[in-house]
Subunit: 340 residues, 2 copies
Amino acid sequence: MPTIKDVARLANVSIATVSYVLNNSGLVSEATRARVLAAVEELGYRPSIIARSLKGKHTHMLGFVLSPFARQPQDPFFNEFLSALADTAASFDYHVAVTTTADLSSERKTYEDMVRDRRVDGFIVADTRPDDERLAYLVTAGFPFVAFGRPANELDFPYVDVDGRAGVKRAVQHLIDLGHRRIGLIELSPALVCRMHRRQGYETALQENGLPLQPELIAVGGLTEKDGYLAMSGLLDLARPPTAVIAGNDLMAVGAMNAIRDRGLAVPDDVAIIGFDDIPLASYVRPTLSTLRQDFYGIGERLVRMLMALLRGEEITEPQKILEPTLIIRESSGGALTKG
Amino acid sequence: MPTIKDVARLANVSIATVSYVLNNSGLVSEATRARVLAAVEELGYRPSIIARSLKGKHTHMLGFVLSPFARQPQDPFFNEFLSALADTAASFDYHVAVTTTADLSSERKTYEDMVRDRRVDGFIVADTRPDDERLAYLVTAGFPFVAFGRPANELDFPYVDVDGRAGVKRAVQHLIDLGHRRIGLIELSPALVCRMHRRQGYETALQENGLPLQPELIAVGGLTEKDGYLAMSGLLDLARPPTAVIAGNDLMAVGAMNAIRDRGLAVPDDVAIIGFDDIPLASYVRPTLSTLRQDFYGIGERLVRMLMALLRGEEITEPQKILEPTLIIRESSGGALTKG
DNA sequence: TTGAAAGCGATACCAA
DNA sequence: TTGGTATCGCTTTCAA
């Protein structure tokens, strides 16, 4: 493994000069520059990032901590998001360090450790939570990070979020246009900030259409297929069950479809369903799932770009970016209502 | 951020002594040791991993490269596997650096770069391939790694693999016991070593039961739901389609089920299906999918333990471990055959 | 335009 | 049992 010294020796210059050439610190004659570059080439030299980091610069690492709950193993969200992070980081010559935390209580410590060990230059935090300890810590520590999701409070940091309010509002409107009047909502876990916005979208849509808000049609959900199954079962137990339901995510939407089927009812004829996310599963299930698409890859990519700008001290173009989800109509939402 | 100097100053010892205490290099009196530890505590000191790495030790990082094909975004395999890697690594005070490669051609370079930049102490390589460049490079470079999957050739390295041969054999036997005689196989991508073993299991089972091997019942598959859909469509086009099919993975199995349904046929009554993997999706779909379960989390955990032993120069207990997949019977494989 | 040399924060050899 | 110091590979003044 050649070092800067080997290059200097071969090019007959000092290591300082080699460094100048490699870092474009100008001030080097074309002749020497060429000589150095040739030596670098010949030796297949690569500067040691470790040594570079020691000089107080950067680690060329971005941190991503897997939450112990929320979006865990069953959610393909990760693959796409993480691929985006790694891909984009790579384009900046950065890597992504992935860590897990055993439980929520040790989560903050995980971040602290990464910071204290100077393992990463910045973090990408996913799925903001009301009263989010991670965010609170990073903000007070003044450590660079960007988040997927808005804060629930006044914390100020760069983020990308999806407009859950507008998305759900549109989905509900779509169902209303189809003739539905009793529309249920299976909520996401209260541990997620985005639950609130989706709820708002639901309420707004009903209101704008002069429909009453019926609390019994709002079911406490969670995150998993099972959560959706249970929530839907509860809804079906109602004296007058909803004829359509919006689920907080696709996994719960699929759970809801299964609950409906297990009662001998049909989707979308008896109950129409719309999910949120558009994970691959949405197009595998039958009937295929109508849903609000979030572009996880694009979001991850954007986040890394923002973080890189932050690290470089550049201006972030849109530090607080809200993206519109796309309503994807497949089979589960059905056509115009004919009965019920 | 306090350094070793600060600790030394506060404890009134040399930095060498601090280092001795921190690395348990013995030879330090109880009194000084206590004094140093107290100083460390008071300052909240943490040794810089960067500086440590520069001294030629370890980076405390394990590398994992996302392949550009194979098991990509639609496969939840990752979440479980990666969680296992990160979890287990953390228990050794290690982290996992995740990288992607744009295309297959640059994959080898990605590994080379990580090695040359000394970014990681070792790699976990997933899904071995026939003629695997990654393996070839790492072996010749003498760089520490472990793999999920056997080599296709004589390369020698520590790995964990699942006995696809035994698994598929058992699944086929199960179908035969149910009365099936025309059993199809939707193969995995030829780019995967494990395809061969699964094929062997299929052939062996037929042979042991005196059933003829009918080449037209073996469909070229791939990896995705779509691959399974297409392969199954081909099988259904046969003059005499199979009454049962084993798919190379769950994703293709679901694709096969969809193809069957789209023809107006039913699973398992017209065609029984068995998958491989037991991803969460397997229990979400209806009918629920019978499959051969691979314990991705357990495999990931085991791999990291092996790699850590390798890095520490310890003996690896079982350097070449083959695990049995578990046959999970759900609805898609049906009960005893009554017709066809 | 180039180079000598001082760090960056740790480890470990050699003395004391 | 402790400490001085060279060293890892690089960046960056400061001089020449």
